[in-house]
């Protein structure tokens, strides 16, 4: 630990103490201050553009610092955001609305905390919508941490006054079956019997002692399935097994990185609705008119998108104006231009 590192650590610890104890109520910038800061960020981007084209390529650390600042500042800003609702989000909302009260909805939590920022807002607004429509929720998870995320989403939903007023009872209005390993084979066996996969629920009560699921044998007693997925096992497996084999009606919420892969299933009718990334969460919150984390994060999200777009433009502008001329002969060609060579 040389001296410079020691000094840096001391500064960070001091700052955290000051912020932690010093600042009691949250900081909020007025809209004028917000627009000034936005203009400032734009100016810095312009500066980077000019210097890069001039030949000075900024180091990775400057880029990292700039991204950090540009993502944190919008937390404190007040900027109105028009959110456009895409067809796949509307179709999921309509599918839930079409369900009669007391229909049984199976919700599978197939993600872990690192993907929570995108999928947790979806879970919360989906629970709120279902409880408002008096639907019965059966919760499960194919990832070990899934059921814990479901518990957090349930607590958040119960904070809503009109849902708390319904004083929903565990085991009658909603149940959490917990995690089961085995990936897509769990879904396969649930096709013949839920009980074989979930002898007890998340708290250890046997399957048959829970009134809500006593006469639920398999998918034919379930009216709708909603799957929150961040990878494998996830929506692909639910489509391949639950939809293709047992014909369930399936809606899905996916991390943005996975969403593009789900469009073939959406078009083939195997998925009735799809929420893609934070944007999908915000659109769903708009459809169910709940202001949750999805909408709040959208401001930072937009700033982040603009920055990435700007960096691509700056990088390529510098490349075409500067580097291309200098490195005409560089051998390193990317694998993409597979020029057909003679064999």
């Amino acid at each position: 630990m040389n001296k410079k590192e020691l000094v840096a650590v001391i500064i960070i610890v001091a700052l955290s103490l000051i912020f932690y104890f010093g600042i009691k109520q949250p900081i909020v910038f007025s809209s004028t201050v917000s627009y000034i800061i936005t203009a400032l960020i734009g100016l810095v981007l312009l500066y980077i553009f000019i210097r890069t084209v001039g030949g000075k390529i900024f180091g990775r650390r400057t880029v990292f610092l700039f991204v950090g600042i540009a993502v944190v500042l919008p937390f404190f800003m007040t900027i109105k955001q028009p959110i456009k609702s895409s067809p796949e989000v509307k179709s999921l909302y309509d599918a839930v609305l079409a369900l009669k009260p007391d229909s049984k909805v199976l919700v599978s939590f197939d993600y872990d905390p690192p993907s929570a920022p995108e999928l947790q807002p979806m879970a919360e607004s989906f629970f709120m919508l279902c409880f408002e429509r008096d639907l019965k929720l059966i919760i499960m998870g194919l990832w070990p941490q899934g059921p814990q995320q479901a518990e957090m989403a349930l607590q958040r939903a119960f904070l809503e006054p009109d849902i708390a007023a319904k004083n929903l009872k565990y085991g009658v209005d909603y149940v959490n079956l917990g995690f089961q390993t085995g990936n897509e084979f769990v879904i396969q066996r649930m096709g013949s019997s839920f009980k074989s996969m979930f002898q007890t629920d998340y708290y250890g009560t046997p399957y048959d002692d829970i009134p809500l699921i006593r006469n639920v044998t398999n998918f034919s007693n379930i009216d709708f399935v909603f799957n929150l997925s961040a990878g494998y096992p996830g929506t692909v497996e639910w489509v391949q097994v639950a939809v293709d084999r047992y014909g369930v009606k399936l809606g899905a919420g996916n991390t943005a990185v996975q969403a593009p892969q789900m469009y073939p299933y959406l078009r083939a009718g195997q998925l009735v609705g799809l929420l893609g990334g934070l944007n999908g969460a915000a659109e769903f919150e708009k459809a169910t008119n709940i202001i949750g984390k999805g909408t709040k994060f959208m401001v930072s999200q937009s700033f982040a998108h603009v920055i990435v777009i700007a960096f691509i433009i700056i990088g390529n502008a510098a490349y075409f104006l500067g580097e291309k001329r200098r490195e005409e002969n560089k051998p390193n060609q990317t694998g993409m231009n597979n020029q057909p060579g003679a064999n």
Binding site: V63, P260, V308, F311, G315, N316
Partner: protein, 225 residues
Amino acid sequence: MKKQVPLTITFIVGVVLILSVFFPPVETWGEDFSLFFDIIAVFAFFLGGGNLIRVHTERIAKKKKDWGFSIITILGFLIMLAAGLFKLWNPGDISADVAATGSLFQLLYDWMFNPLGATMYSLLAFYVASASYRAFRAKNRDATILLIAAFIILLGRTPLGMYATGWIPESFSVLQIPNLAIWVMTSPNLAGQRAIMIGIALGVVAMSLRLILGVERTYLGMDID
């Protein structure tokens, strides 16, 4: 003995599973075989865990660079094992749920495992930005198409896209960036995904057949003898 038995095992198990799909009475064999894999994987964990401890104890013994951190890795591994396997500091007894609230296992998960994993995952945002600035160049036609498509999607998913192209008349509404982004998602992206999916599936079919027929046996560590 060494070479023929593994190959026959692979062949028999492979063929049985392929045909089991067509005969309802044996339809569930695929599920049962997967159970065997999960159990085998647990035993293999002993090898992995054992190797982890051996590598780090060796680093400590030989005082290699950063050996101090190896102690921490081993301590972390052992504490997690103690909290998980023997449920030490767990409010319930041995039969309680391993991640019962308040148990050390759950605390280690919430206070260390979760923030470390989530932060490591979030580093990607910094890397994507720096890669956009330094690595993603439109060096050739293919790269240019890739970046233009990325542009349309990124712009289409932010309000900026709406401001920029709101003025395009309704009749050509598909050219407004948000609609264009949706069109790119539902048409060319769909075609590309489908071509890749079909390609991969046929690649898997050919690869699986090579493995089952024993044409491909490198995984057994024996070259074509």
